[in-house]
Symmetry: C2
Subunit: 718 residues, 2 copies
């Protein structure tokens, strides 16, 4: 059972990341085309006749001495196989002084580079997986109940009694979604992210919508968890409240630095804080209920709060949607199935069961205790902190509770730092996100994705001034969009693959999808004006963006794909961009010369040395200057054909570009190689002193087909 039917494809699309993903292999057709193109290639000379040993003489000779303390570049490479060099660490350090300094600073901050061979395919046992994967889910308990009660209290303290039935409803929802995800795990043993499940079963657009929802979810997880964590700290230490925003930004920056350094999902880091948080919360519940039992479970009446609005359906729905954010993170296990020890899916499923059970216990217990203690959300102190102070009036227990809360929220934020770049990696692999997200930085972390997450989360955190409550309305929509699409995808999956007991499985997933969908709808409608509209607008825009990106890459791949050569007679030369065979290239080398000096003579010599037909062009602002230049050209010896163009309006780039275009118009099969001398400036501030004609010419010629631009550098003061 399990990977029923689509296992091979699944393994390819699974959740394994490799550094080689940037270099996708050729398809079968392309390989065949490659061979046929190669057959028509006529070598103009012996390919092994090189003026230098490309293995740098590293095979036999003794190593050269280093000079000036710096490793000679030849030493930076070792030979492992014939025709293959391996770059050593120093070969990654830039040659420039600024680059070397930067490289050293990065090394100090983030550690030395890690080899591709060190990619970890870590396997976790259940007792480690539970804290690693549940920190995001369980930490939601720190702000979920408060988010719900904050809405209810708007209708006055009387409305707070509704928290118990709403909590019961949420528990049902949690169990339904949990059961639904339990179904997904065995069906996608290679990882069942919502993006993959929805793409697979519902098509690319729902998949992208799920991805957009998840991306927003991850960004908001960081913002909300950091906001809640900082609030846990400022509840205990109110003196820190004014620096909420800088503190949060600092935390996000530290998380970025830690993840750039590549703190792997090292289980040990997570085990202690998560279990400590669970223990602290359980202790809170036990002591709290014991005290309540002492007074015969008689609820303390909450302080009278005047109603700001009537207790309408909308308030109840909003309270429900706010409470539902306690479920964020429930999808973590299904993403990470391959990280479990064998039998992966079975261990993952068990872990998920435990997680949901813990969530239900903590969530329901907390809501009940808050009700019994008659507590009301108030600004400045979190509800959890109030419960803590009420339950542990003295002793270190309160401080411990707040500390473990802040810590687990930090870990929850860190979870997003793991998942967001991985999601982008999978999307980039399918061409739905920029390719740079495939690249693993020198610490084997997806640096680009990490930085993108950090910027997005930081901006949102600052924009909302670190206020958890106003972030919550944005949160629920994205999460439940991903839940709904993932589970709806599973419904389709079961209909298609009809394994044993598929009817029951389909029904369970359908219940999960329906309930998630209802929450999604509730959250989107009831909280639309409070901020949910941002997500409702952002998701379609993101989907559109992903599709546009995909279309660009598809066009590009189509244009660059190898096709078998057309069966035209081999002698017929096509347009210069059409062919890919050396014997069909017809060269004309063009050297624009502004004045005769060492730089331009070098360019002319380089042009002539290629042994192809060459032409020099001079653009003069007026007739007199043209005559003077021609006279200098004669004095030099008139070694190349010179064409002068008088540009009476003094522009240089435009007429030159049009002249080259005109040359190609008269002989379209030509490949024009434009050779420009480029004076290499050593200092950045010298740049405004030069016209940068080389760069401007390059930009102007970019659009012309069949024009190749070559810069011959001239270095000053050497």
């Amino acid at each position: 059972m399990g990977a029923a039917g689509n296992g091979g494809d699944e393994a390819e699309r699974g959740t394994v990341v490799t550094p080689s993903a940037e270099f996708p292999p050729l398809g079968h057709e392309e390989r065949a085309a490659l061979g046929r193109i190669g057959e028509r290639w006529r070598e103009p000379r012996n390919p092994d006749d090189l003026p230098v040993d490309p293995t740098l003489g590293r095979s036999g000779r003794p190593p050269q001495p280093t000079r000036f303390g710096r490793l000679a570049p030849i030493e930076m490479f070792t030979v492992e196989e014939p025709d293959e060099l391996v770059a050593t660490g120093p070969a990654h350090v830039p040659g420039s002084r600024a680059g070397r300094l930067l490289s050293r600073a990065r090394r100090t901050l983030f550690g030395p580079p890690i080899s591709s061979a060190s990619v970890l395919y870590e396997r976790m046992r259940k007792l480690v997986a539970l804290p690693v994967l549940s920190s995001d889910l369980l930490s939601s308990v720190a702000y979920g109940p408060e988010a719900m009660l904050s809405v209810l209290v708007l209708a006055g303290s009387a409305a707070l009694g509704l928290s118990l039935p709403l909590a019961a409803l949420l528990v049902v929802l949690m169990i339904a979604v949990g059961v639904s995800y339990r179904q997904t795990i065995p069906a996608y043993p290679h990882g069942a992210g919502s993006y993959i499940v929805a793409s697979d079963n519902l098509g690319p657009t729902p998949g992208l919508a799920a991805a957009a929802g998840l991306m927003l979810d991850y960004v908001l997880t960081v913002s909300v968890s950091v906001a809640a964590g900082v609030h846990a700290v400022t509840s205990a230490l109110p003196g820190l409240a004014p620096v909420t925003v800088p503190l949060g930004v600092l935390v996000i920056a530290v998380l970025l630095a830690g993840n750039l350094r590549g703190v792997r999902t090292a289980g040990n880091l997570f085990v202690l804080p998560t279990y400590a948080f669970v223990v602290a919360l359980l202790a809170l519940l036990v002591v709290g209920y014991a005290r309540a039992a002492g007074r015969g479970f008689a609820p303390v009446p909450p302080p009278a709060v005047p109603a700001a609005e009537g207790l309408g359906l909308l308030v109840v729905l909003r309270a429900f949607a706010s409470g539902a954010v306690s479920m964020t993170g429930i999808e973590a296990v299904s993403n990470a199935v391959p990280a479990f020890r064998p039998t992966e899916w079975r261990n993952a499923r068990t872990t998920l069961g435990w997680m949901v059970a813990m969530l239900v216990a903590l969530f329901a217990g907390l809501i009940g205790l808050i009700h019994l203690d008659g507590l009301v959300p108030r600004p400045g102190e979190t509800l959890l902190s109030q419960v803590g102070r009420a339950t542990f009036p003295a002793g270190p227990w309160y401080a411990l509770l707040q500390a473990t809360t802040a810590l687990i929220l930090l870990l929850a934020a860190n979870t997003a730092f793991n998942d967001f770049p991985r999601l982008l990696f999978f999307m980039a692999r399918d061409g739905h996100a920029p390719r740079r997200f495939l690249h693993m930085g020198d610490r084997l972390a997806f640096s680009n994705g990490l930085v993108a997450l950090c910027i997005a989360a930081g901006l949102i955190f600052v924009a909302f001034r670190g206020n958890t409550e106003s972030l919550i309305p944005l949160y629920a929509v994205g999460v439940f969009l991903a839940f709904t699409l993932s589970q709806a995808g599973m419904v389709v999956h079961w209909r298609r693959h009809r394994g044993p007991g598929w009817h029951r499985r389909l029904a369970l997933n359908a219940v999960g999808a329906t309930l998630s969908g209802l929450v999604l709808l509730t959250a989107a409608v009831a909280k639309f004006s409070e901020g949910a509209w941002v997500v409702v607008v952002a998701v379609p825009l993101l989907v559109l963006l992903f599709r546009r990106i995909h279309r660009h890459y598809a066009t590009l791949n189509e244009a660059l794909a190898l096709h078998p050569p057309a069966t035209a007679p081999p002698g017929a030369a096509g347009s210069a961009e059409g062919e890919e065979l050396p014997q069909e290239v017809r060269h004309l080398v063009v050297v624009p010369v502004a004045r005769l000096n060492r730089a331009s003579l070098r360019a002319l010599a380089y042009a002539a040395s290629l042994g192809q037909p060459a032409l020099a062009v001079h653009i003069a602002p007026e007739e007199a200057e043209a005559d003077r230049f021609r006279e200098q050209w004669q004095a030099w010896g008139d070694h190349l054909r010179l064409e002068t163009i008088v540009s009476p309006y003094r522009a240089v780039i435009g007429p030159l570009a049009h002249y080259l275009e005109a040359l190609r118009t008269s002989r379209p099969e030509l490949t024009l190689t434009v050779i420009v001398p480029e004076v290499v400036l050593r200092r950045r501030w010298h740049r405004p002193l030069h016209s940068r004609a080389e760069q401007r010419l390059r930009a102007a010629l970019r659009a012309l087909p069949g024009v190749v631009v070559t810069s011959v550098p001239v270095h000053l003061a050497e």
Copy 2:
């Protein structure tokens, strides 16, 4: 007499601007070196054996039909001499759609391009030259007296009586400086700007100091004249006072647009407003003094103004320095000697005499009238406007006075738009300013200098919120620095050239220099804390900047200068950057290949077609990928030698750059040509989707000597 002794050099350095200044001719030594280098050049092939006619077949064949309404590029060139094409207007229009739109917008705003042949060497008769050159000087009367009285009134209304002796002192100063400049004109008949005179006689640093002073002067002329002009308007129409800053910025922008369009110093534009201003002021004086005569020239006592500070020496000195700004613009004639009709210096000298006479009459008359009318500067209305209202209580005369004042101030600002870019042109010709200031835009205006002036003047205007009074303290220092240096230069000039009557001339210039120097010192010290410190700091910084720029260009020219070839045996090959002869270039073509597709096969074909030794390099992130790539290479046919480099830390650019450096270390005489395919993206937003490896590689290789980078473009969707 006149250009005594240094005429030839003078003509070269004179005030004539030509579009060819961007292309300085070769010196005698360089020409000789050029010939000797050319003798050693061995042509590898016949230079006239080209695959295309470089004159585009325009010599004989009938013109090709245009296609799609757009001129075919071949049609954009006409033949005037053999081997010389002339670009027509359309050849200046960029090929891209955005570029064409921009070009059309510019044409609409600024008019069609003007040919180099249209550079005007306009000659003015005296009656035209007088208004053209005097607008700056005479317009100063609009704010100079007020600036002086505004300082005096700080010491109470009693101090206002001091205005008469101070005015007398200023009249002496005006006459002395005027006489001193009269000396300069015949000595520098090709134009005697302070920069040129001071550089010539005192050395480069005083010349640059004079230039820095003049540059600040021109920038402040624009700011002050526009501020005063706007104030003249808001004095008449107080409703416009709140929009002073936007109004001034608009005026500066209109001046820029007009000058970019190339409104030449067309005399007619200036004649009417200047003469109208003079007539209006003379009428004011006549009517004003007639009224005063009616009451027996008894001065009206000024309203009592409490003294804000005591009447110390400092206040008097400050008032004097403020009044001295009435002299700004007196140097205009000596700059423009070649623009007069022959005999140029004689006509110029006569004109200068008339100008100074007019200045003295208007300035002294106005101060006297203000004293007689007992007027006191007050915010909101200019003093000139007060005089106007007092003198012309009814009728259109007052409005006319204000209108001509605003207009002449506008023309004064326009004078700076003429002179600032020309000063930059002369400085750039000497290598003291960026070379781009040599370039004449397509309307024959020095667009770069105009834009620079406009930005500087606009920033200052906005920073001072268009307040004339607070700008004045900055103004005097720069002007009198240039005056002093120019006249001190003339003292040295007479000592050196000892023509007939040199003793008298030296004495006159010495008086002028001394008096200017005293005003300079007064202004710098007395107004230091009020804003003059900006100028005192800026001038040395500017001089330093000019010197640094000059040093850079000098280094560059030295490095690029042609030297006769060393007498080494012709067979010995030097380092790849050392020689300039085609037969000494040893090629190795290197093609970095990331994956095999149409783009890289095109680059490989291009590389092979050059017929030089070629090597392909692949950078792999891990061993497995390297093997896979080698296997594809074999499938293609292994047409070029392939070297794979495993980069275990996944960087690409760094190891590749170090590998190329290593190749050159083992064979330093090689010229490496790195050929990279470059996919040309049609849309700007596609750029973030690509790694831009080509650009990054180019940047990394820029520092390596002997490495030439070639991009082979691949265009999408054609």
